[in-house]
């Protein structure tokens, strides 16, 4: 099954590598990953589309949450989610085919962003199925280049909020006569599973 996961991360050195490394090290396949700064410049947001059964997804979520630089993780529910992807397509075009292509472009409410003697460059935004459908229709005209941003997604009804950092005063963990640091109790990044 396909899953779209939203992840808020610290906008710091090496975070992308940590997330990507986690996926490869644990044998999870990423379909797409899009990342960019949020309105808070210290925080970036990733949208990761991955597939696998529920067990795999559960592990993905938990392993992501375990990363220190990950602030929160959410599996966006398909019924409560808007997803978009921006795609640029360079397609072969000549006087004979240009009109047919334009018609497809209009049907999908896409845009022509560049025209040359024998190519058209199209910009299309939408969910995966829309983009795929358009690409399929353009296929016969010969696709020269396709570049996709990867899906970004947002929930309709809820806000992925950043929990405030708990301030803890750890014990000296290396010192004799102290046990492990005893931090204050804080909320977990993932939910408990129970039957």
């Amino acid at each position: 099954m396909k899953h779209t996961v939203a992840v808020l991360v610290e906008n710091s050195f090496g975070v992308l590598a940590r997330v990507a490394g986690l996926f490869s090290a644990r044998g999870f396949n990423i379909d797409s990953l899009a990342v960019g700064e949020t309105h808070d410049p210290q925080i970036s947001r990733m949208t990761i589309v991955a597939h696998g059964n529920d067990r795999v997804l559960e592990q993905i979520m938990k392993q992501l949450a375990k990363l220190i630089d990950v602030i929160c993780v959410e599996d966006l529910k398909p019924e409560d989610m808007m997803e978009r992807e921006l795609v640029l397509v360079k397609v072969q075009a000549n006087a004979a085919t240009r009109n047919d292509i334009m018609q497809i472009v209009n049907t999908f409410r896409a845009k022509i962003v560049d025209v040359s003697q024998d190519t058209l460059t199209i910009e299309v935004t939408g969910g995966e199925s829309k983009v795929d459908a358009m690409l399929e229709l353009l296929q016969p005209f010969k696709l020269l280049e396709v570049v996709r941003t990867g899906t970004v997604a947002i929930s309709r009804n809820s806000v992925l909020s950043v929990p405030a950092a708990e301030i803890v005063e750890p014990k000296r963990s290396a010192a004799a006569a102290t046990q492990a640091a005893a931090p204050k109790k804080t909320k977990s990044k993932t939910k408990e599973i129970s039957k």
Binding site: V9, E10, F13, G14, A17, R18, G21, A25, R55, E58, Q59, K62, Q63, A65, K66, L67, I68, D69, V70, I71, C72, V162, P163, A164, A165, E166, I167, V168, E169, P170, R172, S173, A174, A175, A176, T178, Q179, A180, A181, A182, P183, K184, K185, T186, K187, S188, K189, T190, E192, I193, S194, K195
Partner: protein
């Protein structure tokens, strides 16, 4: 107070209460070593950086305190990778500081440059590159906090040489605030109650306890729970000692080389209570045939451990110790309800005790371990390498207290035993520390003999020399038609006695069975570090054994 980055680094360690630092210097870390020169922290100079990591690891496992490593960039840092991975797999708190080339040279393939943050990312709980000296105190505070909270693990701090020379106004923070890190979630009492109900209904419950219970310091709570309820307990190799193995409710170790009765009990249980354990494949055997009749309760501080390999019925995320305390409150004596179950277990115990051939003239490893256990009254802090001797130690020492069995359970790192013993001895100076090692494992880190002797660290090495990579030989005998490919060491082994003596240790060799006990006594009586070279049987196999891929109750044993 104005300090250089290097001075600030050492000041951070002092303020964390660090007692020992293990390591070896080099170009990019020289400013920091210069600051070590002025510090009261005791520095242990190793002969190879892998040794430093295992020493810090042994120190940490023996004490619960964070172990600290200080090494140079490039090769110094890459030499720590095995030790970091070992600590990571077994959730050991460690802070490893590595030198790095100057910030402006990073990425230029400079001399002794390596992408250490990149290389160690999968084998650390977290890692940092210090790009600005102003960040150093915060990073160090966080590093120590992360290393030894929640599910502990190694944290690496990569420290560029120019940053170590920059001057900063030093102030060490008292607090940390990391919004993405919540190591100690509140315990969900509803889940605890659900679990307790399940356990109260159970007719054939078993507690399966791992290293998480040791890390949590939950030995006392576990004992109380078992004394109250009578539920039988088995432990993993990392859980050994957290429950006294001499206790009547102990089923000893489970898994590939666990006891028949531990494995049968798990397979026949109706409720299996996993506590700080993670269903490793060496424990479960064939996963879809594991504990087929059991509902599974899983208590673990790491949510990601839950339902990772095995589907759990009731999960409790949280620190083991308070959860066991709650269980003790909620549960009652179950002995009346478990009469049949306990009787059945007694039958298994009688029918399939651990055994070895007592009559043979050869020195068996089991015999040596058994004798050391008796002569140390099961009270020593024990470390091992990896192989047959590790499993026999697990079977025959009979551990009675937490943090008394120190071995590489997760990564299975040969060479771990001896350096970890050095670290453990420094952490527990008044106790006897014994390292049971194989001839293969020992040779991987025996360069640290001089470290033990120079610092007068009185570890006792019981070298069980079977002239083979014994565990490999065993598998080849059983599963590869006795084709002993690259598992024979005997003809090429050095004279261990001479090596030990040349390194300044007291050493003895035993070749006949009647020499064993006097040999052990001599080594234990020696004030300094000592080695007993035991020439043991070459072709003895570890049994019982659940061959990989078998269900846990498909056990092979000696005739």
């Amino acid at each position: 107070m104005k300090l250089t980055g290097a001075q600030a680094m050492i000041r951070c360690l002092e303020l964390e209460g660090v007692e020992y630092v293990f390591g070896l210097p080099g170009g990019a870390i020289l400013p920091t070593f210069d600051a070590v020169y002025d510090s009261k922290i005791k520095f242990i100079l190793v002969r190879h950086e892998q040794g430093a990591t295992h020493m810090a690891d042994g120190y940490a496992r023996a004490t619960g305190r964070t172990g600290v490593v200080l090494v140079t960039s490039g090769p110094g840092a890459t030499n720590t990778v095995t030790g970091l991975a070992t600590a990571y797999m077994d959730s050991v708190p460690m802070v490893c500081i590595t030198g790095q080339v100057a910030t402006h040279a990073i990425g230029s393939d400079a001399f002794q440059e390596a992408d250490v943050v990149g290389i160690t990312r999968p084998v650390t709980k977290h890692n940092y590159l210090v790009k600005d000296v102003k960040d150093l105190p915060r990073i160090m505070k966080e590093a120590f906090y992360i290393a030894n909270s929640g599910r502990p693990g190694p944290v690496l701090v990569d420290f560029p040489v120019d940053v170590s020379r920059q001057v900063t106004e030093f102030e060490y923070p008292k607090t940390v605030a990391i919004r993405g890190y919540h190591p100690n979630p509140p315990i969900n009492m509803e889940q605890v109650k659900k679990a307790a109900d399940l356990i109260m209904q159970a007719k054939r419950p078993v507690l399966y306890v791992g290293g998480g219970a040791v890390g949590s310091g939950a030995g006392k709570e576990l004992l109380e729970l078992v004394n109250k309820t009578g539920i039988p307990v088995t432990t993993t190799v990392l859980g050994l000692g957290v429950f006294p193995e001499t206790h009547p409710s102990s089923l000893r170790m489970l898994g590939m080389h666990g006891t028949h009765y531990a494995n049968y009990s798990v397979q026949n249980s109706d409720v299996l209570i996993a506590v700080g354990a993670r269903f490793d494949d060496r424990v479960t055997g064939k996963i879809d045939k594991f504990a087929p009749h059991a509902k599974i309760v899983h208590v673990d501080i790491d949510p990601a451990s839950i339902s990772k390999t095995i589907k759990v019925d009731v999960s409790i995320v949280g620190d083991v110790k308070p959860v066991l305390k709650e269980f003790s409150k909620l549960l009652k004596d179950k002995r009346p309800q478990m009469k049949e179950w306990l009787a059945q277990i007694e039958v298994w115990k009688k029918k399939h005790p651990l055994k070895y051939d007592q009559s043979t003239e050869e020195i068996l490893q089991e015999y040596v371990i058994d004798q050391v256990a008796k002569l140390t009254n099961h009270k020593a802090v024990v470390t091992t390498g990896v192989g047959q001797h590790q499993m026999w130690t697990a079977q025959w020492y009979q551990f009675e207290s937490p943090r008394s069995m120190i071995n590489s359970g997760g990564l299975g790192t040969m060479g771990y035993g001896f350096p970890s013993a050095i670290g453990a001895q420094l952490g527990r100076p008044n106790e006897t520390v014994v390292c049971f090692d194989g001839d293969g494992s020992f040779q991987m880190t025996m360069c640290e003999l001089v470290t033990a002797s120079f610092y007068k660290i009185p570890v006792k090495i019981i070298l069980l020399d079977n002239g083979h990579h014994g565990m490999v030989r065993q598998w080849q005998e059983l599963f590869y038609r006795e084709r002993y490919s690259a598992s024979v060491l005997g003809p090429s082994n050095p004279d261990f006695l001479k090596i030990a003596e040349a390194s300044g240790l007291f050493a003895k060799r035993v070749e006949r069975k009647d020499e064993v006990i006097p040999g052990i006594k001599a080594v234990l009586a020696h004030a300094g570090p000592a080695l007993l070279h035991c020439r043991v049987a070459k072709k003895e196999n570890v049994y019982p054994m659940v061959p990989a891929g078998n269900a846990l109750d498909q056990i092979i044993d000696m005739a």
